[in-house]
């Protein structure tokens, strides 16, 4: 009875086991990541030289940029950090046998492939007269998203995003209930591992921000199809209101993507310094503070819409305040390592790189928070560089850190260190080559989402595209070590990191039994 596994189809299609669902999420994230990465690689190839080489028109390029953003956010980062690692390790870490609502967990996952399929279909059905697909950016501002895209493409995007949104809302309800009600005896909320804290805060952000996106999307949908005028000035509506609604969701969304990575990094830094995390309570409540303040800073994405100067001053100050809890986290990671017995394992390398690169992205974020400066660089490559430093090097490095940290625990196999190191170094050098020059391009005024550019931007664009090729090699090494580990099948011991890895998942076998904690662990 103890380790009875259902047969293949029952196990993977009708799965109610949190570990299996976590695996499904991670596999889904890898597929979406390859798809989103493919789109971005083609964009970089196009931008390697001035002129239009590979794309047939500017619409297609903007469509690729839009879909790259939506796919990476909704179908790579969120499924990986929340659905994948959250499902796998929150129940294990708090000593729970499973999630609170295993069947709803299954629904949460299976809404996502539906959402992804809708989004992919949108790329092949008419958007505007100039081409297929939706090219209005991941922000979907009207009137470009209403009268600007009369074709059905954007309707598919709306349906896909609504499905993804409901998936996340159900997931959030599941996580909060699990964390509130299913902690093992003695696991008080102030003893809970930081990964569980991060997923708890993230779930609240999802629960409170995604319904607002859903409302905005439904209003866009009725504006498009049944002739309402929520965002149409001719009918008394206001397109600016969509931007407010979108960013009321959109800003918490960026913390939704990064907070679970914070949780993962905390565990890795602590494990490989062989020290408990420095300032545990400060770390937990810094995440709470980031979550709370993250809800009242949204209009810093909209400085150029014609806002009152006092309002700009408020959003500027509120945004800068977020640097304080974020700084607490960075300093606590450094203090954890200080005097620690540091082991530079693969996950620790990812974690170190995460801290270093996230700080770069954070500093450019503080810079962009200033309304006056933002007016100059708004919608340029400077912004692209900023948010890729916090996402494609923050969140994605967090994902790879977690993946290399827990891979043995999840699969039961150890990976080849040299292949994984090659993955790290190619990826690290590659993404830095891609995005660091984009700061220069942005400062020189190169706008986002544009297929072509003047010759003066050619040099750094060329360097950036070389970086994309290096990154591609890194991704290839990732797939190679992944496949190699499953072929060679080096058995992973229960606690293969040894001293320092002391959360509850390391007390179980690798992989953990299908049903764990038949006798609940007691936490002293």
């Amino acid at each position: 009875m103890s380790d009875h596994k259902p047969k293949f189809f029952t196990r993977w299609l009708f799965s109610t086991n949190h570990k299996d669902i976590g695996t499904l999420y991670l596999g889904f994230a890898i597929i979406s990541g390859l798809l989103g990465g493919y789109l971005s690689f083609l964009m970089r190839l196009e931008l390697m030289e001035p002129g239009i080489q590979y794309f047939s028109n500017p619409h297609d390029f903007a469509m690729f940029a839009s879909m790259h953003g939506l796919i990476m956010i909704f179908f790579l980062v969120m499924p990986a950090v929340i659905g994948g690692f959250g499902n796998w390790f929150v129940p294990l870490m708090i000593g729970a046998p499973d999630m609170a609502f295993p069947r709803m967990n299954n629904l949460s996952f299976w809404l996502l492939p539906v959402a992804l399929i809708c989004s992919v279909i949108s790329m092949f059905v008419p958007g505007t007269t100039s081409g297929n697909g939706f090219a209005g950016g991941w922000v979907m501002y009207p009137p470009l998203a209403t009268s600007g895209h009369p074709g059905p493409a954007f309707d598919f995007v709306i349906i896909g995003l609504l499905a993804a949104g409901f998936s996340s809302i159900f997931g959030a309800i599941n996580f909060i209930t699990t964390i509130f009600n299913m902690r093992a005896p003695g696991m008080t909320i102030h003893k809970m591992p930081l990964m569980a804290w991060s997923v708890l805060v993230t779930s609240w952000l999802l629960l409170l921000s995604l319904p607002v996106l859903a409302a905005a999307l439904i209003m866009l949908f009725t504006d498009r199809t049944v002739g309402t005028g929520f965002f149409d000035p001719a009918m008394g509506g206001d397109p600016l209101m969509f931007q407010h609604l979108f960013w009321f969701f959109g800003h918490p969304e960026v913390y939704i993507m990064i907070l679970p990575a914070f949780g993962i990094i905390s565990h890795i830094v602590s494990t490989f310094s062989r020290k408990p995390i420095f300032g545990y309570l400060g770390m937990a409540y810094a995440m709470v503070a980031i979550g709370v303040v993250g809800f009242v800073v949204w209009a810093h994405h909209m400085y150029t819409v014609g806002m009152d100067v006092d309002l700009k001053a408020y959003f500027l100050a509120a945004t800068l305040i977020i640097a304080i809890p974020t700084g607490i986290k960075i300093f606590s990671w450094l203090a954890t390592m200080w005097g620690g017995s540091i082991r530079m394992t693969i996950p620790m390398m990812w974690a170190q790189a995460f801290i270093f690169l996230f700080v770069i992205g954070g500093v450019t974020g503080v810079y962009l928070a200033n309304a006056g400066l933002d007016t100059a660089v708004h919608d340029t490559y400077y912004v692209v560089a900023h948010f890729h430093y916090v996402l494609s090097m923050g969140a994605v490095f967090g994902i790879f850190a977690g993946f290399t940290y827990w891979f043995g625990k999840m699969s039961g196999y150890l990976y080849n260190k040299w292949l994984a190191a090659a993955h790290f170094w190619f990826f690290f050098i590659g993404v830095n080559l891609v995005f660091f020059p984009q700061h220069f391009l942005g400062m020189q005024g190169m706008p986002r989402r544009i297929v072509d550019y003047p010759d003066e931007f050619a040099y750094w664009n060329y360097v950036s595209s070389i970086g994309a090729i290096v990154t591609l090699v890194g991704v290839a090494f990732f797939l190679i070590w992944l496949v190699e580990a499953f072929i060679v099948k080096r058995k992973a011991p229960d606690n293969y990191w040894g001293e320092g890895a002391n959360t509850l998942e390391w007390t179980l076998s690798s992989p953990p039994p299908f049903h764990q904690y038949e006798v609940l662990p007691k936490i002293k």
Partner: protein, 229 residues
Amino acid sequence: MVDVRKHKSNTANRKVVMGLSGAALAMLALGFASKPLYDAFCRVTGYGGTTRVAEQMSEIVTERAIKVRFDANVASNLGWTFKPEDVAITVKLGQNALAYYTATNDSEYPIVGTASYNVSPIKAAPYFSKIECFCFTEQRLEPGETVSMPVLFFVDPLLAEDTRLDEIKTITLSYTFHKVERPSEKPNTAVERQAQLKKLEAIDLEIPKQTNTPANTKNNTQINQQGRG
């Protein structure tokens, strides 16, 4: 033993789920309610340059003068020419002023249009009061018809007391005419416009000189019911 625990946790879970679903539904409702809330917010605060509507004319004039510029725009799908008769006029704070725009229907069929409006700088919006305006109603223009459209307004003398507006010397009033796809029962036509013009031109805009400070006689400014944010 196991059953007891399960039963207890089911009740606890149900409570949490009810609360969380309630929170999610409340946020969804707030998302939809944002439309009326946002309109009300714009009207009350003047956010986005939303002007005020006054029921009565101003009764006090002060010495400070301000230049009011007039701006006119037409949505791309509306075949009208629309422009102000004067590009700018200078008024004293509290002075009732009448300005005209001219609109021509250049197309070959009648069109109903409606104007959205705001003022810039945005912070001056709460002090810009309209008494009568062509933008309050839909306007129907016959093919080739040219009409004069009036706006009767004053700049509230309370502006002088707001130190944030000390440097303001110019206020721009901007209109954009949009095509109305589904017109209301009674858009304004030539007949109503003639009557309205006559009525407005008959009004005595002059205010007897007073020495009152603006503070103790606030003009009767009311929140516009049709305001557009």
